[in-house]
Amino acid sequence: MSTSASAREPNPKNFVPDLHLLGIRDVIYKTAGIFQRDHKLHLLKVRCTLRMKELGIGLLRDYFQYLTKPSGQVETTILLNGILVGETRFFRSMPQLDALRKIVLPKLVAAKSTAAARTLKIWSAGCSTGEEAYTLAIILLEASSLLDDWTCSVLATDLNQNSVEHAKRGIYGESSTRNVPPPLRQKYFVKDATGLSVSPEIRALVSFQRLNLLDGRHLSMIAKTDVIFCRNVLIHFDMASKTRVIEHLHNSLSPAGVLFVGHAESLFGVSNNFSLLHMPAAIAYEKTKTSLAKRRLL
């Protein structure tokens, strides 16, 4: 089983969290939808201690109360930004990528096999510097036996123009490509003086755009997407904006489409239009079927 290695990592020094730290975990989950698993709680405590020092707060209990105040949401975001690894890299979160490759793509191909146009669209929403988008393109190319006569494309969008420009250049260092399996590195990257350059074959599948996920007018043009990756992006929005973004993503998704969010991220309380899906060691969301939506309302 492809159990995530981190889930089995021992908790260093048998760290025992106190009640206020567990309370802070709950605050983060309620406001940002990110759940800190037990083996990450010691890291949460380190971040809390750093923030407390910056704010001049001595006790974890007081910091917990600070976070629960109406103004605490901004602080929660600051805290969370320190916890989530900002670094992006190729082949991140393998259980999700395995689920895409082994389960979602065959399911979509089967569901769309009678469609007039054999097209498959993936959207990397909040693509940062492009590693995720190119990874998805590699997965599509590697699934050529399944997608032989299909037209595939990856749309990659980000709010930050500099990130989009970086992504378009498609040149990466050792650090962000360290997870690329050697055969794929050889096949899809060209080494030059500036680093590893993504091959033209991969670039041909991916198109980059600067896009604000709250821009409904532009978003309405992105339709019939089969798979959306929107990982750890929603944490940057307040609840009202998050609900709008999720509604846009819902509208952009094809009926059989699948939405992946971060591996510790939840849509609970944000939208009833999505249903949770379990795949081996990975979760994702699909559009809630009408019968299920009705059942929920009963």
């Binding site: 492809s2 995530s4 889930a7 082994k102 609970f268 979760i283």
Partner: protein, 298 residues
């Protein structure tokens, strides 16, 4: 289905003679530990456990394991019981006793993996029952621990057939009970029921063992059966299954176990299954270490 194969399997199960027995100490110990806490005497528990050498050794070993971080080494049974607590003691006695029932490396299943799955189901079933305020929280642990009693029956009575079923499940990445039915004409739920009835286990345990893959058919304790069935599925999807990943996509809300649980316990409606999934991951470390600690001393 090949009737002959099924009939042969049934005959072997019904004439099973070499089934390992539950240690004699277990029944009186569990009866004593179920008394109100203020009536319990640690010395009495010490006296009972000291009659079983291997349980004594396991208690000592566990009390000294990193799972129960101690400042000083525990070198007496009394100290071990004090370190573990009487509640944990009950769980350890249960786990140790049942672990002895599965022969090592027979039928192709790794006993460590099997008990990790069983213990995970026990812990998560109890966690979920408490979290959702279900009326059978105290029964959930034992029900989860024993739900796969039929695997022990199959390994003992039908070792070659079971090994073939497990190999098929692994190769086709399908649920074990489906592969068992394909190979033997009978699955571990059915064979578990036969043996559980033969042993005159409590009716609620027979229902869990016999119906956890078809909880709607349970004639008694349907809520408990459905809870364990759902937790079993969740554990298998999160890397705590039988040592391989089932290549499938699961929407819990469309599962028979969920519909049955909802019928029996309406409080389940609206539960946050994403968070429950993340919380399940928290048990990985504990389950892994507990089984490793217990097995090391067998």
């Amino acid at each position: 289905m090949n009737g002959t194969v099924r009939e042969q399997a049934l005959r072997k199960l019904e004439s099973i003679e070499n089934m390992p027995s539950i240690p004699a100490i277990l029944e009186p110990l569990l009866r004593y530990l179920s008394l109100p806490v203020d009536e319990l005497q640690v010395q009495k528990v010490v006296d009972m456990i000291s009659n079983d050498e291997s349980l004594t050794v396991q208690c000592l070993h566990l009390a000294n394991s990193p799972l129960y971080c101690r400042w000083q080494a525990v070198d007496s049974l009394r100290g071990a019981i004090m370190a573990l607590g009487l509640g944990k003691m009950k769980e350890v006695a249960l786990a140790c006793s049942f672990m002895k029932m599965l022969p090592k490396q027979v039928g192709g299943i790794d006993p460590v993996i099997f008990w990790e799955h069983s213990l995970a189901c026990a812990m998560v079933s109890r966690h979920l029952a408490r979290k959702l305020s279900l009326p059978f929280a105290e029964k959930a642990y034992l029900a989860g621990l024993l739900h796969d009693f039929g695997v022990i029956a199959n390994v003992t009575a039908l070792p070659h057939e079971f090994a073939a079923a497990l190999a098929l499940a692994r190769a086709k990445e399908i649920p074990l009970h489906e592969a068992e039915t394909e190979v033997m004409g009978i699955n571990h739920a059915e064979s578990g029921r036969i043996l559980a009835e033969l042993w005159r286990l409590a009716p609620e345990l027979i229902a869990v063992i016999g119906d956890h893959h078809s909880p709607a058919q349970a004639k008694t304790n349907r809520g408990l059966v459905a809870l364990v069935g759902l937790v079993d599925l969740l554990c298998r999807m999160r890397g705590l299954g039988y040592g391989y990943a089932e290549n499938r996509i699961v929407n819990l809300l469309e599962e028979e176990a969920y519909a049955t649980l909802l019928e029996e316990c309406p409080l389940v409606r609206g539960a946050d299954w994403t968070r429950i999934t993340f919380e399940l991951d928290n048990y990985m470390y504990e389950v892994h270490n507990l089984v490793a600690a217990l097995y090391r001393m067998q």
